[in-house]
Amino acid sequence: MAIGQSVKRKEDARFLTGRGVYTDDINRPGQLHAVIVRSPLPHARIAGIDAGETLAAEGVVAVFTGADMAADGVGSLPCGWLIHNKDGSEMVEPPHPPLVAERVRHVGDQVAVVIAETRAQAKRAAQLLDVDYEDLDAVVSCADATEDGAPLVWDEAPGNTCYDWELGDREATDAAFERAAQVVELDLVNNRLVPNAMEPRAAIGEYDPAGGNYTLTTTSQAPHVVRLLMGAFVLNLPEHKLRVVAPDVGGGFGSKIFHYAEEAIVTWAAGKLARPVKWTAERSESFVSDAHGRDHVSHAELAVDEQGQFLGLRVRTVANMGAYLSTFATSIPTYLYATLLAGCYRTPAIYCEVRSVFTNTVPVDAYRGAGRPEAAYLLERLVDKAARQLGIDRIELRRRNFIPKDAFPYATPVALEYDTGDYEATLDLALSQADWDGFESRREEAAARGKLRGIGASTYVEACGIAPSAVAGALGARAGLYESAVVRVHPTGSVSVLTGSHSHGQGHETTFAQIVADRLGVDIDAVEVVHGDTEIIPFGMGTYGSRSLAVGGSALFKALDKVVAKGKKIAAHMLEAAADDIEFADGQFKVAGTESSVALDEVAFAAYVPHDYPIEELEPGLEETAFYDPANFTFPAGCHICEVEIDPETGAVELVGVTVADDVGRVINPMIVEGQIHGGLAQGIGQALLENCVYDENGQLLTSSFMNYAMPRAADLPSFDVGHHVTPCTHNPLGVKGVGEVGSIGVPPAVINAVLDALAPLGVGDIEMPATPERVWRAIRDARAAG
């Protein structure tokens, strides 16, 4: 039941039998229901709000507007990462009030909250709210926002620019281009996505007038972060008077990291009304209020010499921030994107400039991969294009430029130091599993059936567990990036783990228990992993960026070390030996070289019933806390290979093979790791073939439901062939790297490279994500017309 075994998930019994407790499952006595009145317009001045009819409607208890919150001194939802412009000045950071009072800036913007005895009453009354809007011109796309004379989302942001940032050595990169034998250029769009967690967001605010205590129950990936941000910056509540609980959460993919307006609204309203206030998003609301993902427009150039060695990479990206800066929005197209542009390659000079812009759209923030999928897509598309342009085999070109496995630690020209990796190994494994060499016969066989078959690969590297805090802080992060854990060994030897990580699908209750079982030699069922309640767990940063095992697991490992160290002292006393002579293995403290031993549960009992105990030197109890601040990021990497068949008549792309070989470091639970990879692949394939968030030119969201926003379904996907090659992380005690996002990072370029491989014989050189049937059909038709 220990590390490396596919233990079945402990949490699944409750999930699969419908006994999970999600925020919307919770109801409090006297609870009221909130419905948010949202802007139907992308950009408008609020000339007036008449709440008369709404207040008169049956069951309505209150209507609050932005003016009410402002009058109460409610602050702005903070942005957690300050980015500096090229000239050293700070980014434009406009206010982000939970309810807007003057100007709405995207469809779905929060204008008012209607609170009633029932949800139906609140909903009906909300429809009666009379908001007088004065329409303003809107900007929607990156291209629109950067045009001369474009309408301004924020008066204080000329050119709609939030920041104009750069990374890398411009001069060295320009010099590399001057030496280049060839330059490969590519224009790319990284399509905007809607996260669509299965569970919509929800929040319940409570206020206890007796003690002046507030409780927020919310669908969060990071309850302590929400408590800190909301308490300190928005509602002015100290931590000891504010409890934030994130119970079972049905998927997040990044979209539930952020502190959202609705959390502040229900907490504040609960205080105003001294009754619990609950809000649950409808799916239509999720589409216009959950932070979206991606939305980059980039121009990339690669300088190469005659042998195909990469000399330099120059990238210019415009990133859409939406109307407001969501919690971590600003870090995504900068420190989580441009820093990954070296990829697996030894490119000596890289320069990237990123202009991020405001538009009249939903805020854009981290979504599974968060910046790294954008980097991997750009680079891996560019490498394939370079191979075609240079007439070098695309696998061979990658091999020529890989950072060799003996070159680690390797400092890239874009601020990272990769600690370890073996890119040839994952490439070779994937090539052999996918039978890459046998592809041509499959292409011919497909051609005989009238199908265009293609194969494509990507070799990616990514970065998990942003670290260390000091470096992140120097780069503008306004938070620490450590994690915490408490290991509480109970008197009879069972164990509770209190973790600052949060599980919302990742299986921590199992994986973390495996780490404990492995280290302490206890049965996995004797371990309970507790997360999500700021009253119970130590201050921790939550779960995102594939950080939980690498950072939270390492904190747990450190706490276990402390438990063992204390246990040795207790055992030494019990066994009448020196602590230095005590060894601990398989749950037994043993005097080295003897048969004299005492079990963990006996040591725990002695710790809590200290009748015969070294009380002079040692406190009773067996509970330890550890905080872990990593020395570096971890760097999962791998190779993803996709094989497609295209029906040239309709343009339909069928994904017929997905083979991946990932190096996610040491694997604790292979089944959970495989499940994480499957989920990430499904989302990455969704981006490549199906999903696309589309606004019309006036700022209305066209893909506003599952009727026209295409989510991947099981039937859209083949069985995945998942392989591993492990190079353990060198700087954390478990040797783990992180797995949650590798699927969505590595696979989109592999899909598109396969599509382009299928279409290359027709002369098609480019296609945008998602590669929908119509886009593919048009590409084929246009290529044929061009002859």
Partner: protein, 263 residues
């Protein structure tokens, strides 16, 4: 969703009678379209008259060269019916590919055609097969039943009892699904009958329609080569986020060829 009263009559006559007495009454069959519309306040019925307990609306039977399917038969029942598979296998195949398993287990033939979604599958079959819609008061030819998007020839309170399909010599349905909704981006139902070739297209325009030019070409020669050089103009076809009119026009040809191959 607006509050409504639910009625559960046990006969068709009682259902019609109940609906007549309602302010804004709607029949509720499988609820796979009506209930989502109510949730979005796109339909605001005062009363729902459930058809779930009315045995006389069910039943699939073949009499001579006619197949009659009760309005309350679910898509799953039609898909699995040996009677349908024997008489018009293309119809069973069509039903088997409507929506998803949940929709097929709840949604009904009558509900689908009364709703008349411009991208629904059944209307193409009814039109191509020259079916008749049997209501509580008359029979309506499919030709004059589908009047526009979500519009039919049904009068207020008129209840569909069954659809009556003449059994063709051969038929096939080819659908290109819209990736998100799985409704037909373009669906082509092709039937060869004693009276001639009939081709009905769904999903491509505001309502199901017969493709005259294709029918004429296939009358001359019932094989794919008859379509060579036949240009299907995009004029009048739906042009939206899901697909351009041009692509839909192309898919009409492609799906017709696919249906021909399947026949």
């Amino acid at each position: 969703m607006q509050d409504f009263a639910l009625h559960r009559p046990t006969s068709a006559a009682a259902a019609v009678e109940t609906c007549r007495g309602c302010d804004e009454g709607r029949y509720l069959a499988g609820g796979q379209s009506l209930i989502p519309m109510m949730k979005l306040d796109l339909a605001l019925p005062s009363d729902l008259v459930s058809l779930a307990g009315i045995a006389e609306l069910s039943g699939i039977r073949r009499e001579g060269e006619t197949l009659t399917i009760g309005a309350a038969e679910t898509h799953a029942a039609v898909a699995e019916s040996a009677e349908v598979a024997g008489a018009i296998p293309a119809l069973a195949g069509l039903a088997a590919r409507i929506g998803d398993a949940q929709v097929r287990n709840r949604g009904t033939l009558g509900g689908s055609i009364a709703h008349a979604d411009p991208a629904a599958d059944y209307p193409a079959a009814l039109l191509a097969l020259g079916a008749a819609i049997v209501t509580d008061r008359r029979e309506i030819e499919a030709e004059s039943f589908f009047a526009g998007p979500y519009e039919t020839a049904l009068e207020a309170g008129e209840l569909i009892r069954a659809a009556r399909f003449p059994i063709p010599e051969a038929a096939a349905y080819a659908k290109f699904p819209q990736p998100a909704s799985k409704f037909a981006l373009v669906g082509v139902f092709l039937a060869r009958t004693a009276e001639g070739v009939r081709v009905a297209v769904t999903g491509a325009a505001t309502t199901v329609f017969r493709a005259d030019a294709i029918e004429q070409a296939l009358e001359r020669s019932f094989e794919a080569s008859a379509l060579d050089g036949l240009e299907i103009p995009p004029d009048g076809l739906t042009d939206n986020l899901d697909a351009s009119a041009e692509y839909r026009a192309h898919l009409i040809g492609a799906m017709t060829r696919r249906a021909l191959t399947a026949i």
